[in-house]
């Protein structure tokens, strides 16, 4: 794999400027650091860029010109920003689809059926392999390492939201909903609350009658 210097197909914009919403976020971020250490704000600022690109173009990625803008804002060398942006896989240095489907395929999810989730994603979007974007430009499928929600495996992260306890059919349903422009509520897709047991409480069931549900 070689480092992509510019986005393919002339997608690299020639100009980037923070909008009002981003500026407001940046003011809050930079307030956390002493002025001479403001380079520490590079990670949150790159997130701001990625969010803004998502809002403005429907593709949440960080073009090189925006990294230069971040470098200038934080008074650091552009290469230092490139290093950070390319190091973290959460930053997209190439354009992506409107929805970023991130399938966890690490051990827990894999044992619990992440292969089905992947297959469903591919079937629903027409994507052939990880890293590709669907022909309609709506979806980009990425394979990610452990998302830290193993109790709810398998997981599909859509942009920032976790959809948990998936299987093939429910994944298809989710993607169809996304295609319709809906955003189903994140969290478990089965009958459970967060990481609590499916189908309700399994222990201390005697107390359940005495106390109202949800306080146990």
């Amino acid at each position: 794999m070689s480092t992509q210097l510019t986005a393919p197909g002339g997608a690299e914009p020639t100009h980037f400027a923070f909008d009002a919403e981003s500026e407001q976020q940046i003011a809050g971020i930079l307030a956390k650091y002493p002025p001479e250490r403001k380079a520490s704000g590079v990670l949150p600022l790159l997130y701001v860029v990625q969010k803004q690109m998502g809002r403005q173009t429907g593709s949440a990625w960080i073009p090189r010109i925006a990294m230069d803008v971040v470098a200038e804002r934080l008074e650091m060398a552009p290469i230092r920003v490139y290093e950070v942006a390319t190091f973290y896989l959460m930053f997209n240095t190439k354009p992506i689809g409107r929805y970023h489907l991130q399938v966890c395929t690490t051990t827990s999810c894999w044992l619990r059926g992440s292969d089905d989730v992947t297959a469903a994603c591919k079937a629903a979007t027409g994507i052939k392999a990880f890293g590709e974007t669907s022909a309609d430009g709506l979806f980009t499928l990425t394979e990610v390492e452990c998302l830290g929600a193993c109790a709810n495996a398998p997981i599909l992260q859509v942009d920032d939201d976790y959809y948990e306890d998936l299987d093939g059919p429910r994944t298809l349903e989710l993607i169809e909903a996304l295609k319709r422009g809906e955003r189903p509520t994140p969290g478990p897709t089965i009958d459970r609350m967060s990481s609590a047991p499916a189908g309700g409480r399994k222990v201390l069931v005697d107390d359940a009658a005495a106390k109202p549900q949800g306080q146990g």
Binding site: M1, T3, L5, E36, R64, A77, I79, R80, E83, F87
Partner: protein, 688 residues
């Protein structure tokens, strides 16, 4: 001091040293790739593993701090096995292309694989391949060979001060790159080639020219600027194939500026390799005897006052002395080594040298630069300023510049103003920086030729001196007044008296028919077209440039690589260079030409050997008889003469228009021409 035992040898090392330094103090060689004495410690190659008493596993010695009573073992079975394993990992993705790699023979990886490498690879997967990067016309990249030691990243960030290289992506995909397709904007980029421990960064112009074991090495001195960088000329047969720096902590540490390194392909081009004489307006080949007799005939009857000589910027001290003596014999007071028209008070040596010394920069705690852009005029010295700036820490080494508002000096410098009026304001205490200078213990002022080449140059020098005295920078233990020269021969010329004598004419005075016979010793950097039409011009030099084009007689001299010579750098440090190759054709050492001509002219110079000439130089100036260069303070704070021109208000201008094309040799070099086209011309065009 801390006592450490290395393989049973007890050594005392400074507190804060690393285990690797302790091992070196004990005479143990520790293999390493990422560690470099002059860069920060990265600790990522893991080749320098050693065992330490009490430790359960080997530690990377480069980043491991020592403690009292520590025992280090550098050659145990565990260490050998660990290093072998590290080497195996390094070689997993390293191509087996040593036979076609320019680093072969001087490759750290090759050498250390000899000691720690396995005889075969156990790796069965696909090897990693990395696309090559464009870093400009000087540094060639073969990135698949890179072992990611990050020395180049640290060099460009820390020493060169141009953070343009970085490591992008991660893990298996980590690549050293500038990310954008752009030439490195450093005048020190050639040093990347030296610090790269493998063949990832090699010299583009030198590519596939020679193997290191074929080259004959000769110690020399760089004359492309006035720093006096210590270099090694590496030659095969009659050609110098490359120039690399030699370590001298007092001068250049181990760096060399790009011009001094890559000018080498201009050595054999546009050379004057035989005498020429102008017959009916055309230059015709001639013999030495004919050329000499023609000059002698022309000189007959010309009074000394109508004869002049101009010495160039790359001359050795010997030829300067011989020229000075020849003009003395001919009764001429018209001699000048200041092609750029700079003005100095030469009555005291510290009026025109870099008195703090290059190594003295390390002790300075405030710096004012007047009319100079050190990054272009002396890149290696600029790196020293930058190092001091970085080492001192935030705000501990304040730097201000007067002039050069748009230059990036590679360190944070406040631009106080653009002209000499700012200097007056500073002296009057009207600027906040005046207080910084006053509070500094060892302040420095650097006066450049952007100031000294003006008509009011001497007055500005005096103003700077006065300011230095005012802030107590000139005292017996510290000398803060510095002149930064751009011409390698200038200090020697001033030392040996190559300035107009009583009623003598300077360069401007010799032009426009000021003299009837004009002897140019390698002088091309003045307004040659302004030489009077009836002036008989003798050009003695090595390259066919402006001076030779105007000449009536051309005497082929030799380059600094082709003669033993004495060069005095901007500090006044006298250094010797040796002959690396023989001159082409009929070219001869310059002092021998002058000596031979003096005999034809009937006024024989009194030296037949270079030793007796050097004795004459020692007699002319005591510095040339001393083996050591000493940095001195000055008890006498009497200021230099201010000259007759009062300080004008005009802003300082940069003295170097094109870093890569400042003298005849680099104008003959295709590499320097390419660099100029890539780095300088686009900027000039953009400005227009």
């Amino acid at each position: 001091m801390v006592k450490v035992t290395v393989d049973g040898i007890v050594v005392d090392v400074a507190p804060g040293s690393s285990a690797l330094q302790a091992c070196e103090a004990a005479g143990k060689e520790i293999p390493r790739f990422c560690y470099h004495e002059r860069l920060s410690v990265a600790g990522n190659c893991r080749m320098c593993l050693v065992e330490v008493s009490g430790g359960r596993k080997p530690v990377a010695s480069c980043g491991f701090p020592i403690s009292n009573g520590m025992q280090i073992f550098t050659d145990t079975a565990v260490v050998r096995r660990a290093r072998k394993a590290v080497m195996e990992f390094l070689l997993i993705n390293h191509p087996l292309d040593c036979p076609i790699c320019d680093q072969g023979g001087e490759c750290d990886l090759q050498d250390q694989a000899f000691g720690y490498g396995a005889d075969h690879s156990r790796y069965r997967e696909n090897k990693r391949a990395v696309t090559d990067k464009y870093l400009g016309p000087l540094v060639k990249t073969v990135m698949t060979r890179c072992i990611q030691c990050t020395r180049c990243i640290r060099f460009s960030t820390e020493v060169a001060g141009v953070p343009e290289l970085g490591g992008v992506s991660r893990g298996e995909n980590l690549e050293i790159t500038n990310y954008v397709e752009k030439a490195l904007t450093s005048e020190l980029s050639g040093n990347l080639i030296d610090i790269c421990p493998v063949g990832a960064l090699t010299s583009q112009p030198y590519a596939f020219s020679a193997r290191p074991w074929e080259l004959k090495r000769t110690d020399s001195i760089d004359v492309c600027d006035a720093v006096g960088t210590n270099i090694v000329m590496q030659a095969r047969g009659a050609s110098v194939l490359r120039i690399v720096p030699r370590i001298n902590d007092e001068v250049n540490e181990e760096w060399l500026a790009d011009k001094g390194r890559f000018v080498v392909d201009g050595f054999r081009r546009r050379r004057l390799d035989r005498p020429w004489v102008r017959v009916e307006g055309r230059l015709q080949p001639a013999s030495w005897a004919d050329a000499f007799s023609l000059i002698a005939t022309r000189l007959k009857g010309v009074p000394g006052a109508r004869i002049g000589a101009i010495a160039g910027d790359m001359c050795d001290g010997e030829s300067l002395m011989a020229l000075k003596d020849l003009m003395g014999m001919l009764g001429s007071p018209n001699i000048d080594c200041r092609q750029d028209g700079a003005r100095y008070d030469t009555s005291r040596r510290d009026f025109y040298t870099f008195n703090t010394g290059i190594s003295g920069i390390d002790e300075a705690d405030a710096l004012l630069i007047v009319g100079s852009i050190p990054r272009q005029e002396a890149p290696v010295l600029n790196a020293r300023i930058r190092r001091r700036f970085v080492d001192a820490g935030r705000g501990k080494f304040p730097i201000a510049m007067i002039g050069a508002p748009n230059a990036d000096p590679t360190y944070a410098a406040t631009v106080l103003g653009e002209g000499p009026d700012t200097l007056a304001k500073l002296a009057a205490g009207e600027l906040p920086f005046a207080e910084v200078l006053a509070n500094a213990k060892n302040p420095m002022i650097i006066v450049g030729h952007g100031a000294l080449t003006r008509p009011d140059g001497q007055a500005i020098a005096k103003a700077c001196w006065d300011l230095a005295v005012q802030m107590n920078a000139i005292r017996p233990d510290w000398h803060g007044f510095n002149v930064l020269h751009t011409a390698a021969s200038r200090v020697a010329g001033l030392d040996l008296g190559l300035v107009p004598g009583p009623q003598g004419r300077d360069v401007a005075g010799m032009l426009g028919g000021g003299v009837d016979v004009l002897w140019l010793l390698g002088a091309d950097e003045f307004a040659v077209r302004d030489i009077g039409p009836d002036t008989f011009v003798i050009y003695q030099g090595h390259h066919g440039d402006a001076g030779a084009a105007r000449a009536d007689v051309i005497l082929p001299g030799v380059l600094y690589a082709e003669k033993p010579g004495t060069y005095t750098n901007t500090e006044g440090r006298v250094q010797r260079a040796f002959r690396a190759v023989m001159p082409p054709g009929e070219a001869r050492e310059d002092w021998r030409i002058l000596r031979a001509f003096s005999e034809v002219a009937g006024r024989k110079l009194p030296y037949d050997t270079i030793e007796s000439l050097r004795a004459r130089m020692a007699q002319a100036h005591p510095a040339y008889g001393q083996a050591e260069h000493a940095r001195l303070g000055a008890a006498d704070t009497t200021a230099p003469q201010a000259g007759s021109v009062a300080v004008a208000a005009t802003p300082f201008y940069p003295v170097i228009a094109d870093y890569y094309l400042t003298h005849a040799v680099c104008r003959a070099s295709p590499t320097m021409e390419t660099c100029s086209g890539i780095y300088v011309r686009p900027a000039i065009e953009a400005a227009e």
